[in-house]
Amino acid sequence: MERIPILKMGRFLLVSIQIDMDDRTALGLQDDLTEQIVKHNAKGVLIDISSLDVVDSFIGRMLANIAAMASILDADTVVVGMQPAVAITLVELGLSLKGVRSALNIERGMELLQANVAEAEGMAGGDLEE
């Protein structure tokens, strides 16, 4: 089974899926990411799927599961780089990817994660002052 590398960058985890994953590899990534979020106390996960030319219901469910688990572990998830043909197909397939935030590219995705962290810390700071 192949493993998808997970990179740590500050408080975020970065994943770029560069291969056509079989179902076991996809489940492995889901488990690895959940573990790494806890291990590094990560605040955000960015998943680049710009190399994926197919996202079927299994991969879609994996993305939704990662977002749900990350959310329980207090981390945001952003999926970036979805190809237009993939997006059109997903809608027709009937997959709504509820709870999965998306951004056009890695740069925008990182900005989104950073803004979320800044906002969360601003709110926490505000609480302390009261």
């Binding site: 056509d20 994953m21 079927d56 219901s57 299994f58 059109i88 027709e92």
Partner: protein, 137 residues
């Protein structure tokens, strides 16, 4: 309607589901399908191939390049000798699943194809056939 080319490949594991995606992509490209047409039929094939591995105990995929009065298309037939589907209408409904899936496989594949048919007999197996035509919506 003529069949200009055909091929049958086994689909018994999750790794072979990946092979199905690659083979179907190659055929769709060779037939001159647009990127969106390719993506739709490859995604439908992935759903049906996984169904066959997860619920049908594996089976075969037959690919056929179709020609019909200048129209070109791709027909995919997934056939297994698994337990079959007792209630096909129910299985086609979104959200129906007997396993760990999302229940989008059959209904989703039907939406992504121009033609869809299913023939299933409990205890004997299931055959699902889809086709997409180049330039079909």
């Amino acid at each position: 309607m003529g069949i200009s080319k055909s091929e049958t490949i086994p689909v018994r594991s999750s790794a072979e589901v990946v092979s199905v995606r690659h083979v179907v992509r190659k055929w769709a490209v060779d037939l001159g399908f647009s990127l969106i047409e390719q993506t739709k039929i490859v995604t439908a094939a992935s759903e049906l191939a996984r169904n066959m591995v997860d619920y049908g105990g594996g089976g075969n995929l037959r690919l056929e390049a179709l020609e019909d009065g200048g129209r070109r298309g791709l027909r995919l037939t997934f056939e297994d000798k698994g337990p079959g589907i007792a209630d096909v209408e129910q299985a086609l409904r979104d959200g129906f699943t007997s396993g760990s899936g999302m229940g989008l496989g059959l209904g989703g594949a039907r939406r992504l194809a121009n033609e869809f048919s299913i023939d299933s007999k409990p205890g004997e197996g299931t055959r699902v056939t889809i086709a997409r035509w180049k330039g079909g919506s």
